[in-house]
């Protein structure tokens, strides 16, 4: 919504500067997003008297005029009908300028030199040629000569562009904004007579004035679908002269963001901007029959709208129809068949109430959002239809000489509702805190043209009944009135007050703490947290190599996605993480270690998809480039395993790594991480096929874990006493079949040895002298008894037990 400053000031005399007004309106919730000074470049265009007119010597449609600016005489050639002796016109003399960057020059018309030109509205407003039938601007008699056009027409103005929230439909009109400004400033509202007569701003809405004639209009209106259109007002104006609205009206429309068309159309737009009530004008002589019907469209009906588009109407859309069919898409746009034109002599004005939601549905389906539909969809004042049509008729009569019929057709099935809300200062005290008195509240309501009833004392508080004007469709209950009090009291006047200390007040979140610890560990390990989108393409899942039986192969689809690349919800973090690798490889980063935590989604038999929180990790290339002091560290299975097994250990999770994970992992260089009986994650190098599909190069290892599973296992630490006795180390090397996992060997040692603190694998060797098909696993055992010093005898006894257990368990032979 654009509000020209001078137009606003026509309804309320503000003594604030325009900047101050913007600031105050913004703090009132009527947000001024932009303030611009709109200036027309008309330097050198001045008023001049036509002193003499003679025909052009050779061109019958041209005239040669002598114009006097008071200081100089100019000869000007023009065909304009207004170039008549005695008229005061606007002369753009040579070297003067008009909008569009045009500088006027001397031109010769069939041998006669024209020193500049006389201008029309279209030239000085838009810098364009005269429109069909457009005459030059004729200034009122007595206008001083040689005065600049800028000073005479006063067309420069500030425009405040409002960014309104959806509940501020009462500010979709200049008069609506004026009420806010008037209430805030205390300056009285000055509305044109017709609005005062009808009490447009009043608490009960517009009402017929006592002298309103009882005559019914000559047109009949039918309302067969009152749920879509419960009120339709029509009024005929006869004998209109075609033409354009005065230059100041056209300028105002342009400042407000609308294009001037013709006097009649401009008036309908002008009154819409003024009141918020959209209007439409039909060429009366192009309407068939004598009945207008506001009805649902019928199957197969088509209409050509004013923009020249042929539109297929759907059943259920509201149309305005005559005997031949639809003449307008109600509340959205008029039809071409009954469009007013320069030939129009008689018109039918329409001022209706169209239901908001159906209007919105219609314009959306037709993809045709207009100024009118933007107002109907937010609910217009249900009482303002007659006064708006009277205002329009009055202006059309003024600008076109047309004669409005007496009275009007007013088809109305709406019950008049007096909106009365009971209001107590209790709500102010409870919700706002500040002690705002009942008297101050009354004052605010009155300034807004609400009608507060008498104040009654009720306990500690005071109550009153407040009648709210129907144009304030946003106000429905007491809390809404409370907001009006807060707005006009001033949000800035409330004191900030700290929350008093109290016990934490939310659902418990122990897990969130562990979640953060997990993240800290990954940072300490050199991992870089990334954030990727949850929306993927089906192809992203396909590239992972999951077969149809894998729950991850099909993501929950979006109904109406922005694009196919964002059409399903991720079932895993891995596709997103691999895109991060791809991105960084494409910008020539030699390697990286990334991780992400986030939700993944699976279809479910419940109404909502299943959500699971996952941790994903990926490493590629050289994690650390080689330096003079150390070789490079590569993204291998074991590097990533080291990070993840340490993470699990530190979280207190007891999990084991079993060989072989599903896609997209390399089957031989991957593991399932199992805790209890369930898989809590997978880890491995990327399958070469997937790597190829994604055009990745070099080493790449990745993993995923169920965060919920890990957090469920997380345990706080317990202290265990430090042994007073020295730890003892013993090495043992065992030769086993190549296929025996080291984990099995370690497990046997752990289960057999006594007083063992830890066991680590420090070497694996399968070259001669180790026989073909076998491997040697070297273990370091650290004993830490808590109650005595271990003797050589204790140690050799333990060694014998271990040797036997390894022989029995995995057929191992001891090497040393």
């Amino acid at each position: 919504m654009k509000v020209p400053w001078k137009w606003l000031n026509e309804y309320v005399d503000l003594d604030w500067t325009v900047e101050e007004t913007c600031e105050r309106l913004t703090l009132l919730g009527v947000k001024v997003e932009n303030l611009t000074l709109e200036k027309l470049d008309l330097s050198g265009v001045v008023s001049a008297l036509v002193e003499d007119v003679s025909p052009h010597p050779s061109r019958p449609h041209l005239k040669v005029g002598t114009l006097n600016t008071g200081s100089r005489r100019y000869t000007v050639v023009s065909g304009a009908p207004g170039l008549v002796e005695g008229n005061i016109v606007l002369l753009a003399a040579p070297s003067s300028r008009i909008p569009g960057g045009t500088t006027i020059e001397t031109r010769t018309f069939a041998g006669v030199e024209s020193q500049g030109m006389v201008v029309c509205a279209n030239e000085i407003l838009a810098g364009e040629e005269p429109r069909s039938g457009e005459d030059i601007i004729i200034l009122p008699p007595g206008t001083p000569l040689g005065l600049s056009a800028q000073d005479i027409l006063d067309l420069d103005d500030w425009v405040m562009e409002l960014d309104l929230t959806v509940n501020y439909s009462h500010c979709l009109s200049i008069m609506g904004v004026a009420i806010e400004a008037s209430a805030l400033s205390g300056k009285p509202l000055k509305l044109p007579d017709v609005f005062r007569k009808w009490d447009w701003a009043g608490p009960l809405g517009s009402r017929r004035p006592p002298d309103d004639p009882d005559e019914a209009g000559e047109w009949k209106v039918e309302l067969p679908d009152p749920d879509l259109c419960p009120r339709y007002v029509g009024k005929v104006v006869r004998g209109v002269r075609p033409g354009y609205a005065p230059v100041e009206v056209e300028r105002r429309l342009m400042l407000a963001g609308m294009r001037p068309i013709s006097a009649i159309v401009d008036v309908t737009n002008y009154v819409m901007l003024e009141t918020g009530q959209p209007l439409h004008a039909f060429d009366l002589d192009k309407l068939e029959g004598k009945v207008i019907s506001a009805r649902r469209a019928r199957r197969g009906e088509v209409i050509e709208t004013l923009d020249g588009e042929e539109r297929q109407l759907e059943e259920g859309m509201l149309v305005i129809a005559d005997a031949l069919g639809p003449v307008a898409v109600a509340g959205v746009m008029g039809g071409a068949r009954t469009e007013v034109s320069m030939e129009t002599k008689n018109i039918l004005l329409e001022s209706a109430f169209f239901a908001p939601i159906p209007t919105r549905k219609t314009y959306r389906k037709l993809r045709l959002r207009t100024e009118a539909s933007a107002r109907f969809e937010k609910t217009v004042d249900p009482t303002a239809q007659p006064v708006a049509i009277e205002r329009a008729a009055e202006l059309i009569a003024r600008y076109t000489g047309g004669i409005p019929e007496v009275g009007r057709t007013d088809a109305n099935v709406m019950e008049p509702v007096r909106k009365s809300i009971s209001f107590s200062t209790r709500v102010v005290r409870r919700t706002l805190g500040a002690p705002i008195s009942a008297g101050k509240c009354r004052e605010i309501f009155e300034d807004l043209h609400f009608a507060p009833g008498p104040v009654r004392k009720e306990g500690d508080f005071e109550t009153m009944e407040v009648t709210v004007p129907p144009r304030r469709v946003d106000i429905e209950e007491e809390i809404d009135l409370c907001e009006e009090i807060a707005r006009f009291y001033g949000y800035h006047r409330f004191e900030p007050k700290p929350l008093t200390p109290a016990t934490p007040g939310g659902p418990p979140n122990k897990e969130y703490v562990w979640f953060d610890r997990m993240k800290d560990f990954l940072v300490a390990m050199g991992g870089r947290e990334v954030v990727t989108t949850s929306l993927l393409a089906p192809d992203d899942l396909l590239a992972m190599g999951w077969d149809a039986s894998d729950t991850r192969s099909t993501g929950v689809p979006l109904m109406d996605p922005l694009s196919s690349s964002e059409s399903i919800l991720r079932t895993s973090l891995l596709p997103g993480l691999l895109k991060v690798v791809s991105r960084n490889q494409s910008v020539r980063m030699p390697g990286g270690f990334f991780w992400e935590t986030g939700r993944v989604f699976f279809p479910s038999t419940e109404e909502l998809p299943l959500e699971a929180l996952q941790l994903g990790l990926v490493m590629y290339g050289a994690l650390k480039e080689g330096s003079w002091v150390e070789g490079e560290s590569e993204a291998t299975f074991f590097r990533l395993k080291g990070v993840t097994e340490t993470l699990l250990r530190l979280m207190g999770c007891d999990a084991s790594f079993l060989p072989g994970a599903s896609m997209p992992f390399h089957p031989g260089i991957s593991a399932r991480v199992v805790a209890g009986h369930s898989t809590v994650g997978e880890l491995g190098e990327l399958h070469p096929l997937v790597k190829k599909n994604l055009n990745l190069t070099g080493k790449c290892a990745l993993a995923w874990f169920s965060v919920e599973a890990i957090l469920a296992m997380a345990r706080e630490k317990r202290f265990s006493p430090i042994s007073k006795f020295m730890p003892v180390e013993r090495d043992i090397a065992v030769v086993v079949q190549a296929g025996v996992p080291a984990g099995a060997v370690v497990k046997i040692v752990k289960e057999t040895a006594r007083d063992l603190h830890s066991v680590t694998v420090f070497d694996v060797y399968d070259k001669p002298p180790i026989p073909e098909g076998k491997k040697s696993i070297a273990l370091r055992l650290t004993y830490s008894p808590t109650d005595r010093t271990l003797t050589e005898e204790d140690l050799s006894l333990d060694r014998e037990r271990i040797v036997k257990a390894l022989r029995d368990g995995v057929g191992g032979e001891i090497r040393l």
Binding site: K497, G506, A524, E529, M559, L562
Partner: protein, 340 residues
């Protein structure tokens, strides 16, 4: 014997190496050494000369031993000093650098935010991302056909389910989980979705932080106080806030909260459009119907709620001018957030 003593001490003094000293030790004090040999001659002397001679030789032997010890220590120190002189590294060569990781700026920002709200007695409640239309809209006073639904272009999963367009359904779920206990004081950080194509300031996937307080005697003034404390904690102690009336169907009265521009500190610059203010958060007093939908009695308790974009807060904090870089995960971006 005096001559001999002088000679021995001179030889010790002149020794250059530890090995040379060892040889001298052997030569004089060893089993076949000269001093040892002298001591052996004591027995062959006349009885009355024996004690005098013996004492003299022993004294000489002690002097030699002391000198040998001193000289050894001095040569050892010299050798060590020489060794240390040889050991020089080029300290301008880089150290053996550890791998440094980093949190994503969104997590960094969120941690600060969570820390500030912890201090005010809030907890963190994480709600779900896929929601019902009922929870995302209807329970928040956004009936079907409500024009405010348009402002949030929604990504629907089915006719009745969707990806949450704001963290506000967390208000309802969190309240329901509290089962009527007071005070209610939690924040809901999380991912939200809109049908907006990606550009410098929009993304179909972004993040919000919602806050809700419900208790007896909670007023608009508390909303102001609470948000001011947050804004100063997050953007700096000289930050100011400004509340403007606004509209959200689930709050009444509603406010838009601006913070003084983090770049120009309120003087007016490009970033704040010369207003000195940056729009940060929507907020307001919890609407009575929303309080009721959360299982509380609006006649007994009041409350406030707020919600703001985590991405926007992070961008303002670090001067990031394009939303897209947050989701591209380019190492050259991520490495900038290394550190403490």
């Amino acid at each position: 014997m005096d001559d001999m003593g002088e000679r021995v001490l001179r030889e010790i003094e002149e020794a250059k190496t530890l090995a040379g000293l060892d040889q001298l030790r052997l030569k004089y004090l060893g089993k076949k050494g000269e001093i040892t040999a002298l001591l052996k001659t004591v027995g062959s002397l006349p009885k009355e000369e024996r004690p005098g001679f013996g004492a003299k030789v022993n004294a000489l032997r002690e002097v030699i031993e002391t000198r040998l010890r001193e000289k050894t220590a001095s040569l050892e120190r010299e050798a060590l000093e020489e060794k240390v002189r040889q050991e020089v590294v080029d300290v301008t060569l880089p150290g053996n650098l550890p791998q440094v990781g980093s949190l994503h700026p969104l997590t960094k920002a969120l941690r600060e935010i969570v820390g500030i709200f912890y201090g005010m007695g809030f907890t963190v409640y994480e709600s779900r991302e896929a929601e019902t239309d009922e929870m995302n809209f209807v329970k928040l006073n956004l009936e079907p056909g409500h024009p405010a639904r348009d402002a949030q272009d929604t990504l629907y999963l089915t006719d009745t389910t969707l990806l949450r367009t704001h963290t506000s359904p967390g208000q309802i779920r969190g309240m329901l989980e509290m089962q009527g206990r007071l005070p209610v004081r939690f924040i809901v950080p999380g991912r939200v979705y809109r049908r907006d194509p990606m550009d410098a300031s929009h993304s179909p996937v972004f993040h919000q932080v919602e806050g809700l307080v419900i208790d007896r005697h909670i007023t608009f003034e508390h909303l102001k106080g609470c948000f001011l404390e947050f804004a100063r904690g997050f953007f700096g102690p000289d930050t100011e806030i400004r509340l403007r009336p606004s509209y959200f169907p689930f709050t009444e009265p509603s406010a838009e909260i601006d913070v003084s521009c983090t770049i120009c500190r309120g003087k007016g610059c490009q970033v704040c459009g010369r207003t000195g203010w940056l729009e940060l958060s929507g907020a307001g007093m919890a609407h009575p119907r929303v309080i009721r939908n959360g299982g509380y009695d609006p006649d007994e308790v009041t409350g406030f709620a707020f919600g703001f974009g985590l991405d926007r807060a992070a961008m303002l904090k670090w001067g990031i001018d394009d939303l897209r870089v947050l989701f591209e995960n380019d190492l050259r971006f991520l490495t900038q957030f290394e550190g403490l």
